[in-house]
């Protein structure tokens, strides 16, 4: 084993889009690891670094050369290599020559599988220096990286994410002089752009271990984790300094860590008059336009007129960074206030007609058409949920208004404020609180982590909107498959199921399919029966996933689903009851017995009725008694207890009783007993799927 040294590669580029940094470093890590394995080089401790202008990889150790390898080569038989006088024959000499050895190095042995001694040589394959191997391989690995939006620059045909301007590549303290698109590696790199306005010389990195320190001295913190941690710390300190706390946003924190080379957080202010804008508008405007965090009061209610943003330098000596960001933010908020004021000059309902020109989906028509359908669905479901007249009227009003904000200036500027703005504008118009709250929250839940609308009407509107989207799309043949789900129907379907699940409404997916297909019917391009089948399969998958999200054990989910999934309230009650027994060994036994019952009944058509008097053995009489008790129990939790108690009698039954006996009457009675048991099990679950 030869000596090993740390290895470092850095591609110094013009600013790389933040979204590509992580995937690109990960991809080359994979490629380098696979390459090293293929070269029999033991590469350990590979870590990655990135910053806007750098992609870097460092291994804790990489051997300086491949190990030498010896191989035994077998040649012709001894009698053909040596003549009667013991002199080498031509054939013998040629064999030695082939492996570059003198004849003296040839020995004669009988290798396994040969019938006589043969000429044998030991050949040493000298391992190659790693520097040479890297030099040959790295340019190809780098050029082979998949870049989603690759570019060319200057006169070159080379394509990469952004122009590569210098390369640092070291094995120990030795430069690996790879060349990529005319740029040859050295032991130098470049620090922060502004650092080099005063320092025209590049930064020398003498060895891989010196990498981070050398760059930090030149104004670059090359580890994204370190940058993120330092930013988070400054955010908290600065927010506390103005008596508030940061409005958390993990995604924005990641973004800030990726767009600066040195993390400096600046706290600025904006005129308090802008606080009249809805909180969501301020948070969105600051995030989208200025990549800035808002600060809220410690009780989480209102915002403070302050913001936090990242600067790509170590300090703000003249306060220009603060002043500049404040200036820009003011212009942005001025715009937001303009939109907010303009939008309120007209009632939200005025936008209704304009929805005709906004396509929802080619076959399903405009958002105006969609609104009509959502209103109709709301009407049908509100009736089924037995809402009173006043609530039905409010639900319909909310459904009519739900999409109008898509035609407002504010949502045009910030699409993610859809729903929220509609709700805010209705609130300003003096709508009923239930109406504006429902409109405001009807896009929720936006994902598994998001909450449901807080109010019943909000949930109803969200459900009706999603039902129209999913049912409508299925009816015109847009059905998610594999990774293809461009309209995010799975997410909509999941939200819908979650609302049913958490609200406990007595609506089944089959009811919903009936309602939506009746309403979307005129637009449908597929037969209703086909759509219903596809929709039910889709909802069954969503329900299965809902059970997973709810945290039930696999055994509980599988067996409960198989015994019926459409009545969600019932399914939930069964899952809850069974969860208490998830680790109960009696249920494992019950599962075994349930499987046996299934096998025994496979080719039989038992009647459900039998004469208990026919049963002869104690074990089967005991079981028949238990069956009666089981059938008489209606409460889910108690039922589970009775089932658990059945495990032992069932085991005893199968241990002692031969079901398919000679006597046809007894045999029929036993089969019927098992059939009845299975029917009773299925009221709760299919226990044959327990394990």
């Amino acid at each position: 084993m030869s000596a090993a040294k740390p290895f470092l590669l850095e591609l110094h580029c013009e600013e790389i889009p933040a979204r590509f940094l992580k995937p690109l470093t990960a991809d080359l890590s994979t490629a380098i690891t696979a390459w090293a394995a293929g070269q029999s080089l033991e590469l350990t401790g590979l870590e990655v670094f990135y910053s806007p202008r750098k992609l870097a990889w460092r291994a804790a150790s990489l051997p300086l050369a491949q190990a030498d390898q010896t191989e035994t080569q077998v040649g012709p038989p001894q009698r053909m290599c040596v003549d009667a006088d013991g002199q080498p024959t031509i054939q013998g000499l040629k064999f030695a020559e082939k492996w570059g050895l003198p004849f003296a190095a040839v020995r004669f042995e009988q290798p396994a599988g040969k019938k006589e001694p043969c000429a044998v040589v030991t050949v040493t394959k000298v391992g190659r220096p790693t520097v040479d191997l890297l030099q040959e391989a790295l340019p190809g690995l780098i050029a082979g990286l998949h870049v989603p939006k690759a570019m060319r620059w200057g006169n070159s045909e080379f394509e990469f994410v952004r122009p590569i301007r210098s390369i640092l590549c070291l094995l120990g303290n030795q430069v690996v002089p790879i060349t990529v698109d005319g740029v040859t590696a050295a032991n130098t790199t470049w620090g922060h752009r502004l650092f080099h306005r005063a320092q025209p010389e590049p930064v020398v990195v003498s060895e891989p271990a010196a990498y981070e320190a050398a760059l930090e001295a030149a104004g670059v913190v090359v580890s994204v984790d370190v940058r993120r941690a330092r930013i988070a710390e400054q955010l908290d300190t600065l927010a506390a300094g103005v008596g508030g706390r940061v409005v958390a946003d993990a995604e924005l924190l990641d973004t800030l860590a990726e767009i600066v080379e040195f993390p400096k957080i600046v706290c600025g202010e904006f005129p308090a008059a802008f606080l009249e804008l809805p909180k969501e508008v301020l948070v969105t405007s600051l995030r989208e336009h200025q990549k800035s965090f808002c600060i809220e009061k410690l009780d989480g209610t209102d915002l403070l007129p302050c913001f936090l943003t990242a600067a790509n330098r170590t300090d703000d000596p003249a306060g220009f960074v603060k002043a500049g960001n404040e200036w820009v933010l003011k212009a942005r908020l001025y715009d937001a206030r303009f939109f907010f004021a303009e939008d309120r000059k007209l009632a939200l309902s005025v936008r209704m007609e304009k929805l005709q020109a906004l396509t929802f989906q080619k076959d399903l028509g405009s958002y105006h058409d969609k609104t009509g359908r959502v209103v109709a669905i709301t009407k049908a479901l509100a009736k089924r949920l037995s809402l009173d007249e006043a609530h039905i009227e409010r639900a319909l009003e909310a459904a009519r208004m739900a999409k109008c904000d898509l035609r407002t200036l504010m949502v045009g500027e910030f699409p993610e404020l859809q729903g929220i703005m509609g709700g805010e504008y209705l609130r300003h118009e003096g709508s009923h609180e239930e109406v504006w709250m429902a409109v405001k929250e009807h896009y929720r839940p936006a994902g598994a982590d998001d909450a449901l609308p807080a109010t019943a009407l909000g949930c109803l509107l969200s459900l009706c909107d999603k039902l129209d989207t999913v049912g409508g799309c299925f009816a015109v043949g847009i059905i998610p498959s594999g990774s293809k789900d461009p309209l995010a129907l799975r997410r909509a379907g999941q939200g819908l199921v979650r609302i049913l699940w958490e609200r406990g409404w007595a609506l089944t997916p089959r009811d919903l399919c009936g309602v939506v297909l009746g309403i979307v019917g005129p637009k449908a391009t597929k037969p209703a029966a086909e759509t219903t089948e596809a929709l039910l399969a889709f909802f069954k998958d969503r329900v299965a996933y809902q059970l997973e999200l709810a945290g039930y054990a696999g055994s509980v989910r599988r067996s409960a689903l198989a015994a019926g999934w459409e009545d969600l309230a019932d399914l939930k009650a069964r899952c809850e009851a069974m969860s208490g027994f998830a680790d109960d060994p009696r249920f494992a036994s019950l599962a075994q017995s349930a499987k046996r019952i299934g096998n025994i009944l496979k080719d039989e058509i038992p009647s459900g009725n039998f004469d208990g008097a026919l049963l002869v053995q104690g074990e089967e009489k005991e079981l028949a008694g238990q069956l009666q008790r089981l059938e008489a129990t209606t409460d889910q939790a108690a039922l589970l207890g009775v089932l658990a108690d059945l495990a032992q009698p069932l085991e005893a039954f199968f241990g002692a009783v031969m079901v398919k006996c000679e006597d046809p009457a007894l045999r029929a009675a036993r089969l019927s007993l098992l059939h009845r048991l299975r029917q009773a099990f299925l009221r709760v679950a299919d226990f044959s799927l327990w394990q």
Partner: protein
């Protein structure tokens, strides 16, 4: 800094670094890229460096001269460097230093912003340049123009002149900017951007949003298109045909500002502009090939 001083400094800077100083092209357009100095200059193999000011019209951005930050017409300073130099970012930073920006005190970032002009069949990748949180320039490596691959690749730098002026001077209202000073025997009179432009903003916004005759514009759009294709196909004239494409583009923008183009018909209308522009680009390259010998004999760079 006065607007005219900023322009003069940028022109001096880029002229000193080997750029021709071009002039605005006298047809309405949405961006400096549409000037033939860029559109055709970025095509073909010949070296080409040019810088110029371009008034750019965005009818939908009109605010009747009442919004302190947004206007119907603004000034772009446009630089094309072909092929893109290895130190193009450093050159750009030096140009900002020439405007008096001291980077020991300011924050500068290049944030991903890929540029695309569907009506020119052009796209590139690059950044918006952000100074102390404000976007002051667009920086693009052209990959395609008029549907044709750019070989070599040009770097395009676009400075937002009013924005930079406002930022440097800490102005809160674009109309308060000083364009320059008029010096007469009677004294020195500073002239504001508002004096020069506010009434124009008002009238052009009113025109875009209220007074433009939509039927006329629909007819004009179709007529310019017909004229352009006639010039291109019957005569092989890509420069006069390209002017028609520019007129189509502006006519479309006026219709669009009025909401007279529905979202569904939009892509098809834009494609009609792109088809003519792309036809011009292709004809230009063919023309370049046939006259390549002449240009090669001259041994000089030059786009047209």
């Amino acid at each position: 800094m006065h607007i005219q001083e900023l322009i003069l400094r940028l022109q001096r800077f880029w002229a000193d670094r080997g750029c021709l100083i071009g002039q605005p092209y006298d047809i309405e357009k949405g961006a400096g890229t549409m000037n033939p100095l860029t559109f055709f200059g970025a095509l073909g193999a010949k070296p080409w460096n040019v810088a110029y000011v371009e008034p750019s019209r965005r009818p939908a951005d009109g605010r009747y001269g009442e919004n302190p930050f947004r206007v119907y017409k603004h000034l772009q300073f446009q630089v094309i460097l072909k092929p893109s130099p290895a130190k193009v970012q450093d050159l750009y930073i030096e140009s900002l230093e020439a405007l008096g920006i001291d980077f020991s005190k300011h924050d500068l970032r290049f944030e991903e912003d890929n540029w695309e002009s569907p009506s020119l069949g052009a796209w590139g990748v690059g950044w918006q340049v952000v100074l102390d949180g404000m976007e002051i320039s667009q920086f693009t490596y052209f990959q395609q123009v008029g549907g044709q691959d750019c070989r070599p690749v040009s770097a395009e730098l676009t400075y937002g002149i009013e924005r930079i002026c406002m930022f440097l001077g800490g102005y809160d209202n674009i109309f308060d900017l000083i364009h320059g000073e008029v010096k007469t025997d009677d004294g020195v009179f500073p002239v504001t951007y508002g004096e020069m432009r506010q009434r124009e903003e008002f009238e052009l916004s009113a025109y875009s949003f209220e007074h433009a005759d939509l039927d006329l514009h629909r007819t004009l759009f179709a007529s310019f298109e017909k004229e352009g294709w006639r010039l291109l196909t019957d005569h092989g004239h890509f420069l006069s045909a390209y002017e028609q494409a520019l007129k189509m583009s502006h006519t479309f923008n006026v219709l669009d500002a009025r909401g007279a183009v529905s979202t569904t018909e939009r892509p098809a209308v834009i494609k009609r502009v792109r088809d003519l522009a792309s036809g011009c680009a292709k004809a230009y390259l063919e023309h370049q090939e046939t006259s390549a010998a002449t240009i090669a004999a001259a041994g000089k760079g030059g786009a047209l």
